[in-house]
């Protein structure tokens, strides 16, 4: 009897471990357009311009053919440094590459504004990046923190 109980418990334990691991590894699956629209609706964002595929490539080397979905938006006001990236890359490796680009972008903004536009320098310094699996995000905005919360919430983080 004890042996039977032990066997059943072992089976239950193994099943729990297997399913548990499976759940921990489930990927983020969100629509970036929806997140972008939610961000615009719930934060004080100036007028933004969503870059074309060509301009995404020329500016940041973001190749649309290596992305399942991508939105890169810059502020239409040339004197503001606001920027939003929401990208689902085709692979985790590509996402890693775009994450590095996002961080370099924030450094570039800091360098350009430090001795020129102190307010924009302060905004750039507080810029945020995020990476979950194939998803990469960049937020440079006075409300970068809020935008990151919205993104994290959408990704279930």
């Amino acid at each position: 009897m004890i042996k039977k109980v032990a066997v059943v418990l072992t089976i239950i334990l193994c099943a729990t471990v297997l399913f548990g691991c499976g759940s921990a590894k489930s990927e983020v699956n969100v629509d970036v357009s929806s997140i972008y629209n939610e961000i615009l609706a719930r934060t004080e964002t100036p007028e933004m311009i969503v870059l074309t595929e060509k301009r995404m490539m020329n500016s940041y080397g973001i190749d649309s053919s290596s992305c399942k979905q991508a939105i890169v938006a810059v502020c239409s006001d040339s004197l503001r440094t606001d920027e939003i990236w929401l990208i689902e890359a085709d692979t985790i490796e590509t996402a890693g590459k775009y994450l590095a680009t996002a961080k370099a972008c924030i450094e570039q903004k800091c360098a350009a504004n430090e001795n020129y536009l102190p307010e924009q320098y302060a905004v750039a310094q507080k810029g945020k990046t995020a990476n979950y699996g194939r998803f990469v995000a960049l937020f440079v905005s006075p409300e970068a923190e809020r935008m990151l919360e919205i993104f994290n919430s959408a990704c279930g983080k």
Binding site: T52, R55, S59, G61, I62, S78, L79, T81, Q108, A111
Partner: protein, 282 residues
């Protein structure tokens, strides 16, 4: 009496005949001078001189119709022309970049602009240029972009912050030489700098100084095989300052309405010191 009538009639007919004969004689006889010698008259003691028949008058050669000078093509430059153009600039040109990103104007032209960019930064690489996610120096970037036309609007930051007009012109020498060393095929188009808003003038940067700087740029272009593009004149008011309707911040930056005009005038070949259609870019 009968005899008298007969005589009168005879005399009448005689007169008529005389009249007729006289008319014919006069018309058939040419009066010649007494010493006239016919051309074919030959004496026994004279050689026969053959007078050659006069040569027919030569047909005059056709008068060449001069080839008309070709009328230069002054039509506006289209987006296609700007496909291999790169625009270097400071925050003023970032407005041009944003405008074109929004409207699609200037086609696939590349923008290598950033806040506080300057001729001095371009040679020191304090602020690197950003292309396809990578940082570049001004001397190297065109190697990768493949651009054949490099537009520049720089100097407002230099004149005010980095040593004034004289130092800025020295930096231009170094910048152009540095880029040409790596990409000798690139043609440089240097735009005149916009005026500043009247209340933002100060001794280190005022519109008289900017005018003087632009004149030096024009001469620089002549001396260094560059093309000067005179854009600034479209944005001046009666006081030689940046016009109210074109200024976005009472400082140096321009509105989208001004940028629309900027784009139009970039397309206008008459603003160029050399018609860009007739430059060999290869």
């Amino acid at each position: 009496m009968k005899g008298g009538k007969f005589v009168i009639i005879v005399l009448f007919f005689f007169l008529i005949v005389l009249f007729l004969l006289r008319y014919q004689i006069v018309s058939s006889v040419t009066v010649v001078p007494a010493d006239y010698v016919p051309a074919d008259f030959v004496t026994e003691t004279e050689e026969i001189i053959e007078t050659p028949a006069p040569a027919p008058a030569p047909t005059p050669p056709p008068t060449p119709i001069p080839t008309p000078e070709p009328t230069p093509d002054l039509s506006p430059l289209d987006d296609e022309w700007f496909t291999d153009a790169a625009f270097f600039g400071d925050s003023i040109s970032v407005t041009l970049q944003r405008y074109c990103e929004q409207t699609g104007d200037l086609g696939d032209a590349l923008f290598l602009c950033d806040f506080s960019y300057s001729v001095r930064n371009a040679i020191t690489d304090e602020i690197p240029l950003w292309y396809q996610g990578r940082s570049y120096s001004s001397r190297d970037v065109l190697l990768d972009t493949g651009s054949k036309k490099a537009f520049f609007m720089l100097g407002v930051n230099d004149v005010a912050l980095y040593g004034g007009v004289e130092r800025t012109m020295e930096c231009w020498e170094e910048l152009i030489a540095g880029i040409r060393e790596k990409t000798p095929h690139v043609m440089f188009f240097i735009e005149s700098c916009f005026p500043v808003y009247r209340t933002s003038e100060f001794p280190g940067r005022n519109n008289d100084l900017i005018d003087a700087y632009n004149e030096l740029l024009k001469q620089f272009c002549e001396d260094h095989n560059c093309v000067y593009v005179d854009i600034a004149k479209y944005f001046k008011d009666a006081n030689n300052s940046l016009a109210d309707e074109y200024c976005s911040d009472r400082y140096v930056h321009v509105t989208y309405d001004a940028t629309k005009i900027w784009v139009e005038q970039l397309r206008n070949v008459e603003n160029y010191s050399v018609n860009p259609r007739y430059i060999d870019y290869d």
